[in-house]
Amino acid sequence: MPPLLFYLFVLITLGFGLNVVIARNPVTSALSLAVSFVGLAALFLSLDAYFIGVLQVLVYAGAVMVLFLFIIMLMDIKSEEAGGRSSMAAIVAGVVVAGILAVQIATVSGKLPFSGKTTQEAALKLDEAGARWEAKGKENLPTISRDLKAGELPDAKLMGETLFSKYVFHLQVVGLLLLVSTVGVVALSKREKEASSQS
């Protein structure tokens, strides 16, 4: 990806991210978060993580944000109900902590042996990967090696292959987790049958 685009998307991501933090109105924040996530997805793409990128758009920018907006609407919180202005101290604290943290991470981030590399330098070797896949002789997913041979990265297939062969168990656990959360949500947000004093 050309630097220009990269910086554009970075600008989108961080800019709207900043807007999330500073916006007075929750709706604004939610929307800008969605946008920032789209930018983030673009960065994923730039890292050849197409599946993740799409996932990011679908799950976050899609589902999660909708959920947020829905809740906000449901409560129809005006900015004033959203709680008064934060105290100066809190803001300063946040800025300072975040700033220092960013600096710290930035100083460290260069220390990796390959942190100087570009995507071009660290190029994917698709063909030999394809050869390896053939050697593995995975009849069930012949397309992978074919695509690789063809010089394109079958990201989704590889991802799926990994998930459903290696991480089956984890997938189950996450499924369990989702179910638990569903039930939890029901239990926590259901209204009481007889309209009692509480809630």
Binding site: L14, S29, A49, F51, Y60, G84, K125, L178, T182
Partner: protein, 105 residues
């Protein structure tokens, strides 16, 4: 040119932004959004690393699958979290952090 360093710095900044929001904002909903931001910052770092830690010619998909799980888990957390926040709003008519300061000392 764009190096891994850039991605890492971006993720770092994103993380810090999220943290700043979490610390500075009083609206629990927004705090929660910022948390999501921090999570995705982690994801960005993971993806970047996975891209640059090339295992037999391909990006490291173990890391990417962790990203996948993270996103899913995040979604689940959001669901539960919002449910709790709704419950709070029902009782207190507010989602201000200052509404929950009874427990202290």
């Amino acid at each position: 040119m764009i190096t891994l360093n850039h991605y890492l710095i971006v993720s770092g900044i994103l993380f810090s932004l999220g943290l700043a929001g979490v610390i500075a904002r009083r609206n629990i909903l927004i705090i929660y959004m910022c948390l999501e931001m921090m999570l995705s910052a982690g994801n960005l770092a993971l993806v970047a690393f996975s891209r640059f830690r090339i295992t037999d010619g391909l990006p490291d998909y173990t890391a990417q699958s962790l990203v996948f799980f993270t996103i899913t888990v995040a979604a689940a957390e959001v669901a539960v979290g919002l449910a709790i926040i709704v419950a709070l709003f029902r009782t207190k008519q507010s989602v201000d952090v200052e509404a929950v300061t009874k427990l202290q000392g």
